[in-house]
Symmetry: C2
Subunit: 605 residues, 2 copies
């Protein structure tokens, strides 16, 4: 790390500590999140990166006046060492050595530790508070963020133009959605709910924006009432006349700084307000409570209805995946041919070039708006880092007889895509084939699963892991995450993972199916398609619905890495049927040369 960078972070930390002293505090908590708890935060809110240098998508720093620590999860244990000066911040594991334990060990009795109540939820703060109080200290909310006070060139908050999301893509009018949520509030004995997640706001109002990278969000808050009316607290500069005219008269637009006074007014009327203690800023929860509101603590009421895509959304998603699949075929043909041809020369294909090339294919696809996340383009050992983000500095070349993993996706107006393919450049070893085939068997097992209503993703997760477990192998990430429709590539509440799932799977829910295997220092394997939960009739002899998954991602799976001898007949049949479908759907979108390539790539085994 250059001296200038080290000095920069040292002087920022120093300035922050001076500010804390001035404000009468002995410490401060700096989370990576902003008010909206999103995965992508705008530059103005990247306080953790500004202070520490850490650019990962999750984490937390805590500083006292004489010491500080940074807490990151297993994905970032290497990255934190590259980005953060250990002399300034001790490295800690977010889960195994959590911040509240560090606080309970390092805080001294009587210390006042500050936090910004806009940046963390009640649940998060309650945990930190216990740690501080165990040590005899006090956790205190600040009125204004001390880091902002000393951040000299802090960027402005984003203020991009919003646009209405047309009914032909959304499938349901905002009024209909608001009535649906209103009924849910009634059933929860709540007069209204505060929405702090911008994808909840986007879905409810059928609006989209460009406030952050890769997710078409309008950063804003909303309050939705049991009668279906909404106050939308949003910077006026974001609200175009087009957006405004698409909203009906039940939606009132107000500036964000009106939010607090309006919440106080609701509270003082004794209203019953639903807040999600896991995602709503603690500032809002405590403000409501202090002013007499009756709090209904429950999951954001928009999350589940948003997760169950309607038929229009599903058709858009299917259409976007066909177009995206054609771009993927163009890319796979290009990368396979070029990587081999140029391997060993002084101009090999690099990870960065591959990612850029794939982006250029996607940019030509109709209705493309953005990538849905930063492409993970991992050759050989880089593929073994599950969340590797390629950069010009890290980019290595694709070598012969090495595995190349590429995880990417697009934001199309009619749907969001997310796909991982793993290919061999040249010839695989027997071990590579065995591992790839086990990952594939897990993927197929989940893709073919049938299950009764009421089943959740924790119950199904083991189906995808079993072929790996059988050989003493596993992978250290979830099997499936929820995906939005022209919204976040990661959304809740459903998931397929070892960790417990807050909800059962329901028809229309849209998820990834992405088992993997990672051999540190050698290669990474992941096969990811997106899947939709659908009705599959009734259980035999019972009045209980049976569900299964529809796979929507269309793209060949590298047959050179498949070892059919360890697969069952039904698994081989699934693969052949899948490839026949991919061929049938994509052929019309391709020229003769790519049709021939696809034909070979999808042959029956």
């Amino acid at each position: 790390m250059p001296e200038s960078v080290i000095d920069g972070h040292a002087s920022r930390l120093n300035a922050l500590r001076e500010q804390l002293k001035k404000d009468g505090f002995d410490g401060f908590v700096i989370p990576r999140t902003d008010e909206h708890q999103g995965e992508y935060v705008p530059p103005q809110a990247q306080r953790l990166a500004w202070l520490s240098g850490f650019t990962g998508s999750a984490g937390l720093a805590v500083t006292l006046l004489d010491r500080a620590a940074i807490f990151v999860d297993g994905r970032y244990t290497i990255q934190v060492r590259q980005e953060v000066v250990e002399d300034l911040f001790a490295y800690k594991h977010l889960i195994d050595e959590p911040a509240h334990e560090w606080l309970s060990e390092n805080v001294k009795a009587g210390m006042r530790i500050a936090y910004d109540p806009w940046l963390q939820s009640e649940n998060q703060i309650n945990i930190l508070r216990k740690g501080v109080e165990k040590a005899g200290g006090e956790l205190v909310a600040v009125e204004s963020n001390p880091a902002d006070a000393v951040w000299r060139d802090q960027p402005a908050r984003p203020c991009t133009k919003s646009m209405p999301y047309d009914l032909k893509y959304a499938g349901k009018s905002s009024r209909e959605k608001r009535e649906e949520i209103g009924k849910l509030l009634d059933a929860s004995d709540a007069d209204c709910a505060v929405l702090s997640l911008p994808d909840s706001v986007a879905w409810l109002l059928n609006v989209r924006g460009e406030d952050v990278d890769h997710t078409p969000l309008v950063l804003s808050f909303a309050v939705v009432h049991a009668d279906g009316s909404v106050q939308w607290f949003v910077d006026g500069g974001k609200v175009t006349s087009e957006t405004l005219s698409a909203l009906d008269n039940q939606v009132e637009v107000a500036e964000p700084d009106a939010l607090e006074s309006r919440l106080i007014a609701f509270a003082q009327k004794g209203k019953s307000v639903l807040v999600d203690p896991a995602t709503c800023p603690e500032r809002i929860t405590s403000l409501l409570e202090k002013n007499g509101a009756k709090l209904v603590r429950a999951m954001d009421p928009v999350m589940k209805p948003k997760a169950r895509k309607n038929d229009t959304e599903l058709n858009g998603i299917r259409a976007a995946h066909i177009r995206d699949g054609a771009a993927m075929v163009q890319f796979l043909k290009w990368v396979t041919e070029n990587a081999i041809e140029r391997a060993g020369t002084d101009n090999p294909v690099t990870e960065m070039e591959a990612a850029d090339k794939l982006r250029s294919f996607r940019e030509d696809v109709p209705m493309f708006k953005d990538l849905s996340f930063d492409t993970i383009s991992g050759a050989g050992p880089n593929g073994a880092m599950c969340h590797y983000k390629v950069s010009n500095e890290s980019s290595i070349s694709l070598n012969m007889n090495e595995i190349f993993l590429i995880d990417s996706g697009g934001q199309f107006l009619d749907g969001t895509t997310d796909i991982t393919r793993t290919i061999i450049i040249g010839s695989p070893t027997e071990e590579m084939k065995d591992r790839f085939t086990r990952v594939l068997m897990g993927h197929i097992s989940l893709a073919m699963a049938k299950f009764p209503k009421g089943t959740n993703g924790m119950q199904l997760d083991s189906l995808a892991r079993r072929p790996l477990w059988d050989a003493g192998l596993d992978f250290d990430h979830g099997t499936g995450h929820g995906v939005g429709c022209f919204l976040g590539v990661h959304e809740g509440p459903q998931r397929i993972a070892k960790a417990s799932s807050p909800v059962a799977l329901e028809p229309g829910m849209f998820l990834s199916n992405e088992p993997g295997y990672y051999k540190a220092g050698e290669y990474g394997i992941r096969i990811e398609n997106l899947i939709i939960v659908r009705d599959a009739g009734k259980m035999i002899g019972l009045d209980i619905p049976l569900y299964d998954f529809e796979t929507v991602t269309l793209c060949p799976i590298d047959l050179r890495l498949v070892e059919p001898s360890i697969m069952s007949a039904s698994e081989i049949k699934w693969l052949n049927d899948y490839h026949a479908w991919v061929r049938e759907e994509l052929t019309p979108l391709l020229d003769a040369e790519h049709q021939a390539w696809l034909q070979a790539a999808t042959k029956s085994i």
Copy 2:
């Protein structure tokens, strides 16, 4: 139902209501449980059966002065109709129409609803309290149970002789166990823990008794301290000189009526006391809290150490299963031959005769002490009721071409057994074979599973259901429950089920593996073996242990019900290997005639 029975319950309910009025109450909660939350309760504590007539193993009644309801789960919806007068108690579903909702709908503002704080835990009471308070009523603990006041011929509390559980079976001295628990208390910042579960007391003190049916318990309480010392609150009549001399001087024996004053004394000293809010009587929790104790709410600290059987226990369990298996072979030969021979005659084999016959074979087994539960002996449609308990009144005959299911077990000094076998009398239909084979495939899938440390039973449950789910079938009970060692045939905390599991599986944990399928009105299928979690090396490339299961139950699986064409090669291999092992282990214990039968029953397919 005879008039006299109806009148009896009406007059009991009436007497209880008069008592409630006299005591100034408007209602009362009558759970099925006693102070120890066990599955088997002594006659004196069967208040729910006395009042309502309901004899199921779980349930709850609530009476107001003018109305009452009984709450039972899905297992007992038929039985409750046969045993309880609907005019007296409205039938409600324990889960879907829970008591707290009924209370919130039926209680009027100002009503005082009584409960016996010895019979329910803090968690249970908290839920009921919310329901009563929602209606503006008050839930009030009684000092003495009003049902006992009007129960004229209430039996005495059981007082059977206890006996020490020899180290050669227990494998670990009480002192060693108490030191282990003491360390756990230290780590939880608790000075002591109240043990209210009698199997926790039995394990910790290495004592056994006969206070209830089928589980060798001494009903009693204990307080265990961080220094390993124990106060055992037990009726002096139960403590034999043999038991006393096996206890060391760190165990103080006191009468049960000393418990409260001792708890108050601990509390007043400001001691930190661990209580399990899910199982400890609310009386104890509230008494401690009121008197100034610092409560540590956590799982009974004995549960997990008790669940992880030591090597001596595991060897005892294996030995008991070999002997039990020989008894099962004698029974299966007898029932198959006799049922066919006598089918259609005026002296067919009946469910009751089969259960009695199996009991008689088990009684001849060395170290047999008791059945581990009431045998479920279900012919044809009776087998479709998962928890059918055969009686002289219900017993039907075993008919040709019908399925017979028998679920039974023994309490042996060296281990507890629990086994279910399903056989065909005559010839099965294709459907029967398909369903049986899918249940078997699920059983085998779980038996063969390997999984990393940290995996719990909710994650594994779907492996056992998948072959059924694939055909749109399922079963409405858990896949596996914990089993004690010469203790409860059902014990926690581990389980394999759709519902969430409180703990991960660990080596030495002992469970059942019992998927099933039930076709209402026709037949029931269940295949149950007991399994032990064991170490299976390390995950490849990781420092994480890999676990698998050792099957310990030895008994043929009816091959006439197996359809090999839908099984995989590895499933068929498991079945053949299992049968070869059963044959090898049991042959030495059988006479020539039974050896020949076993040989045929375990042939390779």
